[in-house]
């Protein structure tokens, strides 16, 4: 009987399963895309917005969002990883054929059912595109179920743009409104210059029927929220994927707590209306 990766937690919540690295694709100076394969007969069974706990054995474990979409998982899945800590620095030196560990998928993902029939605004900043790409590709693979789809993507520098091939494909499809901006251009950059909020005047949506999804560095949220609300998008339709130190992934270790909720259990995706209703004043710090 096929089992999901979650089923393998029946003996221990903390026991990773081996995952073979199939492919490593350098993306920027800091990010690489890892394609991983689970043991035969085990499926990831994830939804966009969820994350896995990724282990490099002997180094450690950290939460990484799943960047591939369920609609495109053929026994493998992808993680876009920035090298920034102990584990990710070692991971970046690993080669296809080597084995890492994965647990999960954990957390509550994006509200894909609620999004159907709606106009969609994706507003990722920097590495925030990684978790959103899972959702974007899911949406594009069933494009007819959605209204207008807009992607606003901001990065610090052209060299830090992620998934540039896919950005090009998405903008060439004709049914996605793609806008990319960088804070600091280089001499070859011909696109928008400025922070992500400078893109919002280009958004043409029916606000009351729009779902907006954002993910990025903490400093970005309050400005993006102002823009989204300024367009008239209801707070209950604005979703944020929050970063925290989700060490255990199962609501025990305490590191990811935001006031009285665990980000790894109640999130990492939160509706802005819920953040307000639950008085999660630590959410946007």
């Amino acid at each position: 009987m096929p089992e999901t990766l979650q089923d393998t937690l029946k003996d221990s919540l903390y026991l990773p399963q081996p995952a073979r690295i199939l492919d490593v694709k350098p993306m920027t100076q800091w990010e690489k895309l890892f394609k991983l394969e689970l043991p035969r007969g085990v499926s990831l069974g994830h939804e966009p917005g969820q994350f896995v706990e990724l282990s490099v054995f002997g180094v450690g474990e950290a939460p990484i969002s799943i960047t591939s979409s369920p609609s495109r998982s053929n026994g493998s899945f992808e993680l876009c990883v920035r090298r920034t800590g102990d584990m990710t620095n070692v991971l970046h030196r690993m080669q296809p054929g080597q084995v890492v560990g994965v647990r999960g998928p954990f957390g509550r993902g994006f509200p894909i059912e609620r999004m159907r029939g709606k106009d969609i605004v994706f507003a990722p900043g920097g590495l925030g595109l990684a978790p959103l790409r899972s959702l974007i590709n899911q949406v594009l693979d069933e494009r007819g179920k959605y209204g207008r789809v807009t992607l606003l993507y901001g990065a610090k520098h052209p060299s830090e743009l992620l998934f540039t091939d896919e950005l090009k494909q998405w903008s060439e499809r004709g049914d996605v409104d793609v806008h990319v901006t960088v804070d600091r251009p280089d001499e070859n950059w011909k696109g928008n210059v400025g922070v992500i909020t400078t893109l919002f005047p280009k958004v043409q949506v029916y606000a009351r029927n729009t779902v907006a999804i954002t993910c990025g560095p903490p400093v970005m949220y309050r400005f993006v929220l102002m823009e989204l609300m300024g367009k008239g998008i209801p707070e209950g339709n604005i979703y944020l994927s929050l970063e925290r130190r989700m060490k255990c992934g199962v609501g025990k270790c305490g590191h990811c707590q935001i006031n009285n909720v665990y980000c790894c259990q109640s999130g990492p995706v939160f509706a802005y209306a819920d953040i307000k209703a639950l008085s999660l004043s630590e959410a946007l710090t």
């Binding site: 221990s12 990773p16 054995f57 080597q98 130190r245 199962v250 630590e282």
Partner: protein, 349 residues
């Protein structure tokens, strides 16, 4: 069902009998303090102890606990579930209450098998507290001066004998297999009632308000100026959480053998008071000040755990107050918040 009575000599024999099958741990005097440690002989027993430095939580959630072993190449990944059969003898009622919370934390949502296996292999024998243990304890205010119903057996000192309350079937089985007891007589009932009645006034209410108001008080006090004051004093040493019977936050760490071929994964106690607790790999700190970290700790104790588990996160043992080098105490903190609130309400009139 009534209670049983066991003589103090018979309890000593019970300990010896239990030792044949179980690790028996209890309060032992070490360097002028009490700690929970293995009882080698019945003479070690100090059931009239004041308070242990660290709570018996360590038998359910060890300070360092190996949870997995692996080969570095990922070819072997095996869980480690280590749970030696253990009888904890002489648990104060506050610590029993704390274990009740831990049971909920590790048994709710994703069930933590490592904790569960230990819990299944640990027998809890409580001891009724007859006098205040330290100047910092405030169990009476927190409603923990009476045992919670998670004990297997619970003892009350009647002088030459103990009254034995049976809490569970496994507790009764333990008693039948290892102890000589007798059923309580009318005289024993009178004796027990007298002891419990005499004990109650020995303990003081130390909160200036009823504990049922604590969660709402904490919720209203989120933006109190007191957190900044505490933050200025706090050394961020983590002593308070280290000795807390209800704290359970942990970190996970890998260790590798000298040959770089096999490794172990260990979970270790962690503390929300330490400056790296909420930092993510990119460097952003989601709780960057001592003030916000102290607030988080007190919020967890006073309201967050009742939100999540319907149990208070503080059992009034007072260990954190005892351990704190700058005299931050829960009694002072809760009372200060209460009076600030009252004064603010008064000023509005």
């Amino acid at each position: 069902m009534g209670f049983r009575v066991i003589s103090k000599e018979a309890l000593g024999r019970m300990v010896r009998s239990l030792q044949q099958q179980y690790r028996v741990v209890g309060p032992k005097p070490v360097a002028g303090e009490f700690i929970f440690a293995e009882i080698e002989s019945a003479d070690d027993l100090h059931l009239d102890y004041t308070q242990t430095v660290v709570p018996p939580k360590k038998y359910l959630l060890p300070q360092h606990e190996e949870i997995a072993r692996f080969n570095l190449d990922g070819s072997v990944i095996a869980p480690v579930l280590d749970a030696p059969p253990t009888v904890i003898l002489g648990i104060h009622t506050c610590d029993l209450h704390a274990m009740q919370l831990l049971d909920k934390v590790f048994g709710s949502g994703y069930v933590d098998q490592h904790y569960r296996k230990r819990r299944e292999n640990v027998w809890l024998i409580g001891i009724e507290c007859l006098r205040p243990c330290t100047p910092h304890s405030f169990c009476k205010s927190m409603g923990t001066l009476t045992a919670s119903d998670n004990f297997d057996l619970h003892l009350t000192d009647l002088g030459d004998e103990y009254a034995v309350d049976i809490g569970t079937e496994r507790g009764e089985a333990l008693l039948q297999a290892h102890a000589e007891t007798r059923f309580a007589t009318d005289e024993d009932y009178q004796h027990l009632n007298a002891v419990l009645t005499e004990k109650w006034p020995r303990f003081a209410y130390r909160l200036d308000f009823d504990v049922s108001e604590l969660p709402s008080l904490m919720r209203m006090s989120y933006h109190s100026k007191l957190w900044e004051e505490l933050g200025k004093r706090c050394l961020a040493c983590g002593s308070c959480t280290n000795v807390c019977p209800t704290c359970y936050c942990f970190n996970v760490q890998d260790d590798v053998d000298f040959a770089l071929s096999v490794g172990t994964r260990t979970r270790n106690w962690d503390s929300c008071q330490l400056d790296e607790f909420a930092i993510v790999a990119g460097g952003h700190d989601f709780r960057p000040t001592r003030a916000t970290r102290q607030r988080h700790r007190f919020m967890r104790k006073g309201v967050y755990q009742t939100d999540a588990y319907k149990l208070l996160g503080c059992v009034g043992c007072g260990r954190c107050a005892q351990a704190c080098l700058v005299h931050i105490t829960p009694v002072d903190t809760f009372n200060q918040l209460y009076h600030d609130r009252m004064n603010a309400a008064e000023a509005k009139k």
